[in-house]
């Protein structure tokens, strides 16, 4: 996710208010781009691309309702010739395990919600300090946090697990929340810091002149402006944690296994149950899909958050 520098657009705002009759260069460009994007050809292309990208998903959906012998014998696109659909695969995925699927579902939720809330809360505080509190060594510390992003999580697995074992907390949800928070924080701090930095200095200074302290500035001035940024990072983190298999496998125990662990094992010891995978994929996909559709307007706004108005 890139951060769009605000200067250009802010300038144009100022320009607008002064001479409304004349269009600024940025506006002209925006209109030109709009015209180009809304041409019928571009729309047609967009629709074609969207269709192409949806075809594999459609195939997966059709496949998930077909019996194993049909999947093996013919492609999903021939399914309409001799329709033989059933919910058997879903029944097996949902109820075929000795552990109820609902348990995995709840585990996934129990893991994901704190693993999204914790890093965002901490990162907001840290980002505020990095952006608006002037303290000694701030830049070095910020670079250090930024640099942490290059540490691949794989190298941290065994040392972290050793520490957890020593302190006797391994196998609980705590370690999974903690690990996800650790892995998310560098990026979260960096992103939120950049969003915060784009809020005009005048706004913060005006609040300070009016007698607001850090707490008040944070909650009354910055937080409302940051909502789209927070929402977009929350979506990222949610999708990452929900789809995570590595952390759940390494730090988790049978009691804390999320949906992904169950899906990874669906195929059976020797892979003979592969026909269940498409149904399993769809079961695992529902919640992220709902989250994404529900929050997508924030997602788009968050990506454009650079154009925050003063």
């Amino acid at each position: 996710m890139t951060v769009i520098p605000p200067t250009d657009l802010l300038d144009s705002q100022v320009g607008d208010s002064r001479k409304e009759s004349k269009l600024s260069r940025a506006d002209k460009r925006a209109i030109a781009v709009k015209g180009r994007l809304s041409s019928p050809w571009a729309s047609a292309l967009a629709i074609v691309i969207a269709l192409l990208w949806t075809i594999p998903t459609l195939g997966l959906l059709v496949t998930s309702f077909r019996p194993r012998s049909d999947i093996r014998r013919s492609g999903w696109w021939t399914a309409w010739q001799d329709p033989n659909f059933s919910f058997d695969n879903y029944t097996e995925v949902l109820f075929g395990s000795s552990t109820k699927l609902s348990t995995y579902f709840i585990n996934s939720l129990v893991i994901t919600l704190p693993a999204v809330v914790i890093p965002i809360s901490l990162a907001l505080l840290a980002a505020y300090a990095f952006a608006w509190i002037d303290f000694k060594g701030r830049n070095i510390l910020f670079v250090a946090v930024f640099a942490l992003q290059v540490v691949p999580i794989q190298v941290t697995m065994i040392p972290l697990l050793t520490q957890y074992n020593r302190s006797g907390v391994s196998g609980t949800f705590w370690v999974i929340w903690l690990s996800h928070s650790i892995f998310a924080l560098p990026l979260a701090i960096y992103l939120l810091h950049n969003f915060m930095k784009q809020i005009p200095r005048e706004l913060v200074e005006a609040a300070r002149v009016d007698g607001a302290g850090h707490v008040k500035i944070f909650f009354r001035v910055l937080l409302p402006l940051l909502t789209p940024a927070i929402a977009s990072f929350a979506i990222f983190q949610f999708l990452w944690v929900w789809n995570d298999l590595l952390v759940a496998l390494v730090f988790g125990a049978p009691d804390t296994a999320p949906l992904t662990v169950r899906v990874a094992e669906l195929a059976g010891t020797r892979g003979s149950q592969w026909h269940l995978l498409s149904a399993g994929a769809f079961v695992a996909m529902v919640v992220p899909l709902i989250v994404f559709l529900a929050l997508q307007r924030y997602f788009v706004r968050g990506l454009l958050a650079g154009s925050v108005k003063g």
Partner: protein, 461 residues
């Protein structure tokens, strides 16, 4: 053997749809792997008094066996749990081989792990000598009483018994359609020469079909079925003694006798007249999933498919596994040796390894090495499992192939050898051997180059 392992999620990443919250109709069970009966809940606890009162104790078990086979495992522990009061915490994962070393290194090993490769056991004992706990005396007694010496040896490192056998499988099988054999007047071959003659005859009789079908694709373990092929043929062309030397690297991997064996494998697997029935050219073997490669037998596009007894789970639900000819029926015959009296048998199994010396863990290990457990397990198993335990009652097995496997395994006229790639060091047995065999088939790499490359990969020490 090295079962299929898929690292990471192959699936779950695609993009859109709704249709969920399906509370579906009836499931007619997943293919052949039915759960079988529940164990007799009121099992006679008299046999379990020897394990003592383990009320409130719990034992963690970590394995590569996942659902639906995991259910059969946990069901088989129920009498033990009910009679002793202990709780078995079972955890199966397809990432077992990658995760177990992580847990050992980080210091939270499970109490017990089922290790499918003696080579892996050996390297664990070498790397974590204080973590792997040798079998307690009662377990050793059980193992020596009920298992043949070679099986005890597979679980031993430097003469000390670390792991007792759990399940077993037999790989020297050729799946075929009894109906197709009857229709064409073919008989089950008794010697390797018979098999070659039969292959040529099928090729001549059926220009539209091929005698053999094969597939070695298996995710990141692609190639392992080809290693089984070579091992089986080494046992036949060079004999069990050379096989042992080869596996233990007392002769180089690219020994001339091994080259002869690889050429013999190539005379079938790389002969365009013999493969790949219903699936394509020779190179298609490399890209055909191992668990689908036998299916052309049912369509008459191929007649022979070499695979283990556990291949049974991969047939469609409506396929009948029986020796008597029937429509849509399959069965397997023993892959013959050089002569009728020469009967090498390739197989594999899992081994119960302990990482804790707590008394309840010791008791459970002893239980797992007893015929008591093996019989409980047979009662709840549909197919694809049997035990090498001599106190095992094979009549409890439901699948005819498993019964046949047990019969061959316990028949003294057959010479059993454990899967070689599972005994070799990981760099060879789970890496170079697989990859080079895949290149040998998929890219038509020369026989000598293939063996040379694997020899080069053998760790120096």
């Amino acid at each position: 053997m090295r079962s299929v392992r898929t690292r990471g999620l192959v699936v779950a990443t695609t993009g859109a749809a709704l249709a969920l919250t399906l509370v579906g109709c009836s499931s007619d069970g997943d293919d052949n792997s039915s759960d079988g009966d529940s164990p007799a809940a009121s099992a006679d606890c008299a046999d379990y008094t020897q394990y003592g009162d383990l009320k409130g104790k719990s034992i963690s078990v970590y394995t590569s066996i996942v659902e639906p086979e995991a259910k059969q495992q946990t069901d088989s522990y129920k009498p033990f749990e009910e009679c002793t009061g202990a709780t078995i915490k079972y955890e199966g994962s397809r990432e077992f081989e990658a995760q177990l070393p992580v847990r050992l290194k980080a210091g939270n090993p499970p109490d017990i792990a089922y290790v499918p490769q003696p080579g892996f056991l050996k390297s664990m004992v070498a790397d974590y000598p204080n973590v792997v706990v040798p079998a307690p005396q009662e377990t050793v007694d059980n193992a020596k009483k009920y298992y043949s010496e070679e099986w005890v040896n597979y679980g031993s490192v430097d003469g000390k018994l670390y792991a007792t056998p759990l399940g077993a499988n037999v790989k020297s099988f050729v799946w075929y359609s009894p109906q197709a054999f009857e229709d064409n007047g073919y008989t089950v071959p008794k010697t390797w020469d018979d098999l070659t003659t039969l292959t040529a005859k099928i090729a001549a009789d059926h220009p539209d079909a091929k005698p053999w079908c094969a597939g070695i694709e298996s995710g990141d373990a692609t190639g392992w079925p080809a290693t089984d092929w070579l091992e089986d043929v080494v046992l036949r062309t060079a004999g069990p003694d050379v096989y042992d030397q080869w596996v233990n690297h007392e002769i180089p991997f690219n020994d001339p006798q091994i080259l002869t064996a690889l050429q013999a494998v190539g005379s079938i697997l790389k002969n365009p007249a013999d493969v790949n029935g219903g699936l394509g050219e020779v190179a298609s073997i490399a890209t055909t999933p191992w668990n689908e490669a036998g299916n052309p037998i049912l369509d008459g596009a191929c007649f022979l498919h070499r695979a283990a007894n556990f291949y049974q789970a991969n047939w469609d639900e409506d396929v009948k596994v029986q020796e008597a000819p029937t429509d849509n029926g399959v069965y397997a015959f023993y892959l013959p040796g050089k002569s009728e009296s020469d009967k090498p048998l390739l197989g594999g199994g899992e081994f119960v390894t302990g990482f804790s010396d707590r008394p309840e863990v010791a008791a459970f290990r002893t239980f797992l090495a007893s015929p008591q457990w093996a019989n409980e397990k047979a009662k709840v198993t549909g197919q694809g499992w049997f035990s090498a335990n001599s106190g095992f009652d094979s009549s409890l097995l439901k699948s005819p192939i498993d019964q046949l496997s047990f019969k061959l395994l316990t028949d003294p006229s057959y010479t059993f050898r454990f899967d070689g790639s599972d005994q070799m060091p990981g760099a060879v047995g789970a890496d170079a051997f697989w990859k080079q065999m895949t290149a040998w088939i998929g890219e038509d790499q020369a026989d000598q180059t293939t063996l040379d490359n694997i020899e080069k990969a053998w760790p120096a020490s």
